[in-house]
Symmetry: C2
Subunit: 194 residues, 2 copies
Amino acid sequence: MRSREITHVYSHQLAAAARVKASQVRRDIMSLGIEGSPVRGYHCEELIASIREVLDNPEGERVALVGLGNLGRAIMTYFAGRRPKLRIVAAFDVDPAKVDRVYHGVRCHSDAELPAVIREQNIRVGIITVPATVAQEVADRLVAAGLRGILNLAPRPLSVPEGVYIESLDVTAALEKVAYFSRQEGAREETPLD
Amino acid sequence: MRSREITHVYSHQLAAAARVKASQVRRDIMSLGIEGSPVRGYHCEELIASIREVLDNPEGERVALVGLGNLGRAIMTYFAGRRPKLRIVAAFDVDPAKVDRVYHGVRCHSDAELPAVIREQNIRVGIITVPATVAQEVADRLVAAGLRGILNLAPRPLSVPEGVYIESLDVTAALEKVAYFSRQEGAREETPLD
DNA sequence: TGTTGTGAATCTCTTCACAGCT
DNA sequence: AGCTGTGAAGAGATTCACAACA
């Protein structure tokens, strides 16, 4: 909206874009402490600034990626340069053919270097894109090295100590879910509209 | 457990493996209509058979993948042969260099062939791994060709008509979430344990 | 003792509905 | 008329807690 030189926006417009209900948008914005005007709606710049303040670490977040298989490289490609606040600054793989190669400006380290690199680079967030069989082991090593948050893309639930945040995305499970619901006739839609 | 020749399992064992509470496991199993014995627990074979009956289409599900970038190829690799019930049987890309090449036994078709291939191969589930800018357009074309379910991996919410099931996985958003929660001190753990 | 099956309680998120304002 | 802010209700999902049983 900023790029279109629109200064104000109504909750129902944001709701339509995000495929949620307007009341949800209003409640979420409320929690930011922002007030809109019933006449003009919400001020875009104010929203952007406030959301940024809540979500972004001003110094940005340094991220490590473990596992440079297809999926790991896909994620490297995706984040390369795109999100200045979320920078993948180190990668790891056990394959000697990958170690010391540079992917999208990021050097691939060997597994053995993991603890040292995480500590030296002061990395606090990690992405796991290794095979399911070694995912827990990698998570344990990341946590031991000091990580505070993990995004797990291996199709296996992981355990981490309290104080470490973990989020898992399981593409396999998601596809199973789609296959299941698409077979139920009159499949319900996921996105409630206003 | 089957491979370890274990015939029975308690709800708390399944709960530990899935990182959920035992009461949750019991309620879920209840909904399958399966009864366990307080002495031996649940019969593994019975559970496997029953879950399969609910979740799996006996004929399997034929899946199309649109977008053979890094992420699309990662998913092709992952599913290649691994899930007999979820078979990616067609792929699409706009890049002429990819069209007619074969990836993991699956021929890449041009964008123009999409409607015909979807219909001829009787495909009902699709995976979208194209750039966000064209994701909605691809979804529209897939739906027009007769798909009933879509797994969207582009970081953009999509609209589909009622009757079509859509599931979106947004890796970017998930990483933002991890970065956010890992900065909150005493970050809560995601997985409640018993 | 230890487990299942389940009614009831709890928790959390979402939505309704409407007063208040312009 | 049309929007925001929000108390209250609603809808689900999760968990508790305990009877029943071996």
